[in-house]
Amino acid sequence: MLDTQQTFPWLLAVASGMFTIGALGVLIRRNPLVVFMCIELMLNAVNLAFVTYGHFLNSMDGQMFALMVVVVAAAEVVVGLALITQVFRSGRELDVDDLSEMSE
């Protein structure tokens, strides 16, 4: 169904596009929730790249890695959201630039 020669570069282009959007989002946005979503976006871009390569190289490894990433991402979401909720509940404004206690 998929024309290998045709779709391969496109798929990669979509993946890299998604990744770039995600990276920029992380760098630019100040709302932690959005930053979080952007990270998810980057992860899924990588997933897409994995699956693409796996498919075109006739290897299961790509899908295996993608699955792994999904699992890690799920775990990450749990922790990340919990952290954000905690910050929110402590009555602070949700702004990543305010969360700079680590420097000292």
Binding site: L27, V96, D97
Partner: protein, 666 residues
């Protein structure tokens, strides 16, 4: 393993059966130990009466067992008198490695030692009941004293070098505990520490000797019978190896017996209660060195050099201590230096191979020296702990009995016929005239010791008991209680009779009891027993020796009988340099302090203050601080803004990919 051979010979018809020997050994050791533990554990609760009984009766029981041992050995055939028993295995690391048995030997030599230890020990324990009547912690005292008897018995019974070393060190421990008995006195604490550390030097020498025996003979069991039996095959006679072993053993003996160069602890040890000085620092422990060399006669017989060294050190110490004793003003220290001098003579005797003569002097010395110390203890007790002879004088008027006994002891010490010291001292000097390296020279030195002995013995007697009382306190002095007098009287009896009963000097007339008893031991393992000198020599040496002793006594009478007891008096009578040496005890304490103690402490301080903080720990902290300085630079990048981290990460990732691409593209 090693005892299989001995066990086979140790089950004779009229000798001691192994089981009986085991029982006796266990009993004789356990009784004093039990006394020590009972006193320590229950003494504080049950009070003084209990302590007095537990302390003395345990030694009496031990004495009774010892008598059984003695008579059993006496009843046995000459060839069956030595029994070795093994109680348990100490350690067994397999063939070719250390395997040590806890084993003990009952023979003529150990029997003699046991008799003196428990016999004199018992008398001194009884005496202590009176002497320590005002002491606050008698349980402590008797516990230590009983521990000492146990340790000393362990030492003389041991048939294994490792067990001997255990006993060797434990008598040192008991000595340490008792020297430091009055622990609130700083001088006592320091004296105890000094004694202990000096003993450790000796212990280490013994341990090294044990190692050399293991290596040289393959004697992994360290069993004394095995060592002696294999020594002749394993070592070359007069070889360097056996000489080294003997030197090390001798060093151990010197530390214990307060011989040069490890003698400085003994005078300080007089800080302990007087019965301790009598028991440990006169009668028994300090003579352990003599016993050790006698016990290791097989090895010493193989090294002329070591024997010569031992003989010279013994005689040298005898001379030196005799000179020092002339000027001391502390009653106990005079006796202490006298002890050092007399033990020097014993060491000299065993050094020239006259083992039974050395042991003979050990026996008589135990009597008269314990007597002197206990009599001195009576005086000190009566004068409320006064020990300065310059403040005494005329004591005999108030303490007649003690004075008489002290006189008996002094006469015996000086070696006047027919008191015990005469027989034993002239006997060993007689051997010295004939045998040993440089025989006449050391003999002449021995005569000088005789003169010195006469002087200091009677100087002390005159200063304390004659003349006018120097303080008012003396006229308040009361004769000691019976519990303190009876032991002294019994010791005085021993000081009179133990000489001629054990050996009558003229061959053919009397019997050489002590020689007949002990010489078979020294003939074991191919040992040679020195033949008695000829009758003419014996007569001559006895007369010359007696003359020398009388000369000393005469000089003492001339100098001290009518004069005020002042150290300066001595100073005017003898050459000035001798006086100085004498007063400063030949400067040994100062030299050791300057050469050994201070440099060690300085090194320790240097390590603590400089090397450790500046270099060793300094290096570690240097690495640490270098790293943390480095981290200061890196910390500026840690802004805390997530955004910055993300940006750096992105830039890094892009940069990495770019480099990879460029590299691959090339």
């Amino acid at each position: 393993m090693s005892h299989a051979l001995l066990a086979a010979t140790a089950i004779p018809q009229n000798g001691m059966s192994t089981d009986k020997a085991k029982t006796l050994v266990i009993l004789v050791l356990v009784l004093p130990l039990a006394g020590a533990l009972l006193n320590a554990a229950l003494g504080p609760r049950l009070g003084r009466r209990f302590v007095n009984y537990a302390g003395t009766l345990s030694i009496l029981a031990s004495l009774i067992v010892t008598l059984v041992v003695f008579f059993t050995i006496l009843g046995a055939d000459q060839s069956l008198r030595s029994t070795t028993v093994t109680l348990w295995t100490y350690i067994d690391l397999g063939p070719g490695n250390l395997n040590v048995d806890v084993s003990f030997t009952l023979d003529q030599l150990s029997a003699v030692m046991m008799l003196v230890i428990t016999g004199v020990g018992f008398l001194i324990h009884v005496y202590s009941v009176g002497y320590m009547e005002h002491d606050a912690t008698p349980h402590r005292f008797f516990s230590y004293m009983n521990l000492f008897i146990f340790s000393m018995l362990l030492l003389v019974l041991a048939a294994n070098l490792l067990i001997l070393i255990v006993g060797w060190a434990m008598v040192g421990l008991a000595s340490y505990l008792l020297i430091g008995y009055y622990y609130e006195r700083r001088s006592a604490v320091l004296a105890a520490r000094k004694a202990f550390i000096t003993q450790v030097i000796g212990d280490i020498a013994m341990v090294v000797a044990a190692f050399m025996l293991v290596l040289g003979l393959g004697a992994h069991s360290l069993s004394l019978p095995v060592i002696f039996a294999t020594a002749h095959d394993g070592f070359a006679v007069n070889g360097a190896y056996v000489t080294a072993i003997c030197m090390l053993l001798a060093l151990g003996a010197f530390a214990k017996s307060a011989q040069f160069p490890l003698h400085t602890w003994l005078p300080d040890a007089m800080e302990g209660p007087t019965p301790v000085s009598a028991l440990i620092h006169a009668a028994t422990m300090v003579t352990a060195g003599v016993y050790l060399i006698a016990r290791f006669h097989t090895l010493f017989d193989m090294s002329v050099l070591a024997q010569g060294m031992v003989a010279c050190v013994g005689m040298g110490t005898a001379l030196m201590a005799g000179v020092i004793a002339l000027s001391q003003i502390d009653i106990k220290r005079v006796i202490a230096f006298s002890t050092m001098s007399q033990i020097g003579l014993m060491i000299f005797a065993v050094g020239i191979g006259a083992y039974s003569a050395g042991m003979f002097h050990f026996i008589t010395h135990a009597f008269f020296k314990a007597l002197l110390f206990l009599a001195a203890g009576n005086v000190i007790h009566a004068l409320h702990d006064e020990q300065d002879v310059r403040l005494m004088g005329g004591v005999e008027r108030f303490m007649t009995n003690t004075g008489r006994y002290f006189l008996v002891g002094s006469v015996a010490l000086a070696g006047i016929i027919p008191f015990a010291g005469y027989y034993s001292k002239e006997d060993l000097l007689g051997f010295g005239a004939v045998y040993g390296p440089g025989a006449p020279a050391l003999y002449i030195a021995g005569l000088v010791v005789n003169v010195l002995t006469g002087i200091y013995a009677f100087r002390l007697y005159f200063l304390v008991f004659h003349g006018e009382p120097q303080t008012a306190r003396i006229s308040d002095a009361k004769e000691a209680r019976r519990v303190m007098l009876v032991p002294v009287a019994l010791l005085a009896l021993g000081s009179v009779v133990s000489g001629f009963l054990l050996q009558f000097p003229l061959p053919g007339i009397g019997k050489n009891v002590i020689g007949d008893w002990l010489n078979p031991v020294f003939a074991q393992y191919g040992g040679t027993v020195l033949a008695e000198p000829s009758t003419a020599t014996v007569l001559l040496t006895q007369l010359i020796g007696l003359a020398a002793s009388l000369l000393g006594v005469g000089l003492a009478r001339q100098w001290f009988f009518f004069h005020s007891p002042d150290a300066e008096v001595v100073a005017s009578r003898v050459p000035r340099f001798l006086t100085l040496l004498s007063l400063h005890r030949f400067y040994f304490d100062d030299i050791y302090d300057a050469v050994l103690v201070r440099p060690s402490l300085a090194a320790a301080r240097g390590v603590r203050r400089v090397i450790e903080p500046r270099y060793i720990d300094g290096a570690v902290r240097g690495v640490g601080s270098a790293l943390s300085e480095l981290s200061v630079d890196f910390r500026t990048y840690q802004t805390g803004f997530i955004r910055d981290y993300a940006a750096i990460m992105t830039i890094g990732a892009v940069g990495f990919v770019a480099i990879m691409v460029l590299l691959v593209a090339r």
